[in-house]
Symmetry: C2
Subunit: 445 residues, 2 copies
């Protein structure tokens, strides 16, 4: 017999039913909060024209294109590729519907994207992203930048994922400061990467790395000093006021001030959203505010939710200036880390509350009828239909974690009763069918 | 400036926000009913090893394989391909987890699949399927075959899609009868296709087609007579009792009898599920019960939900006999037909119930605070943050169909009031902030 490799392709995730139930509950919460904040759902295809993805900065080494299996080696691929994020599809959506949309356009999208990265632990090739973005026509108020963390905080508090903080910064502060230090545009990225390591490697190592990168000693020391600015939001502003580093820097500080003030107006605590001047994020893309979100639990690494402001969403597709701001939850990675660390413990794998069991195969039709009745009482109800012995049926319920079995046997048929077995307490009682709804209410209260 | 083609790739669907809101409501209902019936959610990747998909009958002309854009022409594709249905991924899932699963394994899955078919109106290359299947170890009770229509009926009644009927048949009845008529196994498919046209082309044409297909005149006439059997379920059984067509035929009738009896036990009306001997469906795959579901509205063509019993789900992957029965809603096609025909009329595109408006930009911080308060009252609430004139803000609300605007202006700030504008009735009233919750309750009651 031919041997097939049935494993999931490397980097493509699979969730067990118990985990998938958690994922579905999370998706419902995320969706609900997005809608509670007035964001519109859109559903774009998994696939877009390949050249559009590349035009908006997709990495050709990571973009998956589609090809029909049988066309292999003949006419080449279809010209279509799988989306690698939700932002480029948003740009295309806005371009397609520019004249129908009400601006600012606020949309959310939840769904899978794919990147052909090297697969490694905690890194997936297919993963769900939950994105919100606000796109303006020509202009977009900075208050929208405050909205993003406010919404994310609503979600993570509702999901009870433990202590977390959204770190906020403004890219103009960093680039303005570095420019003012005489660092060339090409070097800025490298400097940021070095500075980003401060917590990990310490100040001395950062300094020597900066010098190795041919940053002047004086500039290197000032940069190091700058990145050490930390503390409460007002403390940071106080220190930033002492820094004079040119117009772009000052603009960044002004913008950050406006966003932080709006967060305060919305009643957001600093424990939940605070300034962190070391946050940089995809500098090629973002032009102002940037966010990263971290769980204050050592077992969960990396940012669980990130985003920022971009000046240009879709100019190459529309010829219009469309500034936007957005944020994205990396759901697959977050959930798989939480499951792995045991922080999130999935419940039972079956949604079934009541398993209806026939003590004898001949009562199966009545058991089906009873199942329909119990379902009408609002209980998730399943019939065991295989005509196996009672102990087999109970162990099926046990394996799936089904909390209650309702058993129909000969004496019950005669008396108009059923046996109600509480599987957790291993307690069984005979109940009149007319009293079953009440009995179940008592168990599930 | 380079011109980009921003259209969706042909055959890949996009839903507008108002339609997507309907789709989300439908998905929630489908999911709820599946769970109410004790089906477990599983989430398998969009991608499987290509050879596994082909091994289970995937059409190489329609299977999309993945290739990294930059690998083009070099090392060939990744060996991975996008799923074309949910059944093969189920087979692989069961093979992966054979020893952990409780049988019968009842799972549902909702999500996109892709087929590289010629794109045409109403036919998509990416579409959502909502599947339930029950998989047994070695055996599986026929009562499960009755469960499938019962669940589908719960869903479509809850979705209020109008009158519909699940047509049920048993493949053994057809193949048994044809075999008994001396028709060879290879011919059976052809004969079924001819007979399937009866309603469309009439009896005379079917007869001549059968003769052209080299079916003996006597057999052809008997086949025609057989397919004319119709009427209420019991009427059909009455007529089937008069037909003597060998063991396989008789087995099919017995099985259909058992399924129809179970449907009756569950209180399913014949208006909702009835026998139709002309239903055949993918004969290569199904081995017993088959289903098709049609809307009794001429504007909606084809089956909106189909499935059947299969003897062998995953023998090539597991070496075990795993019989199953399943049914699948073709959601994308159904929704797009309902939208197009105007049968399903989407509501407004925005989920927002209340738009908070500042009459002057300087009140935006207070407006944000007010927005947070209204959201806490349970209303989907959005702030207009762009500092535009009042009429611009109202027309934004109008364009999105937002039912209520709450306006904060100078006199309101002074008096501790807001203006509440009912956008539908074009009625505006001044309300004390403390009375706002009550005022909104009145509007949304």
């Amino acid at each position: 017999m031919k041997k097939y490799d049935v494993k999931c392709p490397s980097g493509f995730p699979e969730f067990a039913p118990s985990q998938e139930r958690v994922r579905q509950q999370w998706l419902a919460v995320i969706r609900e909060v997005f809608e509670k904040n007035g964001f519109l759902p859109i559903e774009t295809p998994l696939v877009e024209h390949e050249e559009n993805l590349v035009a908006k900065g997709g990495n050709p080494k990571e973009i998956y294109v589609l090809k029909r299996l049988q066309d292999e080696g003949e006419e080449g691929h279809s010209g279509n590729a799988i989306r690698f994020d939700h932002t480029v599809p948003l740009a295309l959506y806005v371009a397609r519907h520019l004249n129908e949309l009400a601006f600012p356009f606020r949309r959310y999208v939840i769904g899978p994207v794919m990147r052909g990265e090297r697969a490694q632990k905690g890194r997936f090739r297919q993963f769900d992203q939950c994105d919100i973005d606000v796109v303006g026509m020509e202009n977009l108020s900075l208050l929208n930048d405050a909205l993003m963390p406010a919404i994310i905080i609503q979600i993570f508090e509702k999901l009870k994922i433990g202590d977390f903080v959204v770190r906020i910064n403004n890219r103009k502060i960093l680039t303005g400061f570095f420019e003012h230090m005489g660092i060339t545009a090409e070097k800025i990225k490298e400097v940021l990467a070095i500075v980003d390591d401060l917590e990990k490697v310490g100040a001395e190592k950062v300094l020597s790395n900066l010098l190795s990168a041919k940053i002047e000693k004086n500039a290197a020391q000032k940069i190091l000093e700058f990145t050490k600015i930390s503390g409460a939001n007002e403390k940071i502003f106080e220190q930033l006021r002492k820094v004079s580093a040119g117009g772009r820097f000052a603009e960044g500080v002004r913008e950050l001030r406006e966003v932080v003030d709006a967060l305060k107006a919305m009643g957001i605590s600093e424990n939940r959203c605070r300034i962190d001047l070391s946050i940089a994020r995809g500098l090629d893309y973002y032009t102002g505010t940037v966010y990263e979100t971290t769980l204050l639990d050592d077992r969960i690494s990396g940012s669980i939710c990130s985003g920022g402001r971009f000046d240009d969403l879709a100019e190459i597709f529309t010829g219009k200036k469309l500034p936007g701001v957005g944020i994205s939850i990396g759901l697959t990675r977050l959930l798989s880390q939480l499951f792995e660390a045991g922080i999130l413990k999935p419940d039972r794998s079956s949604p079934t509350q009541v398993l209806v069991i026939a003590a004898d195969e001949k009562y199966l039709p009545q058991a089906l009828e009873l199942g329909t009745q119990i379902r009408a009482m609002g209980r998730a109800t399943e019939n065991y239909l295989e005509g196996k012995k009672l102990d087999k049926q109970f162990s099926y319920a046990d394996k799936l974690g089904i909390p209650v079995c309702v058993v129909l046997g000969e004496s019950e048929m005669k008396n108009g009763t059923v046996q109600v077995k509480n599987m957790k307490l291993k307690k069984q009682e005979e109940v009149k069918v007319g009293m079953l709804e009440k009995a179940l209410k008592t168990i599930f209260k």
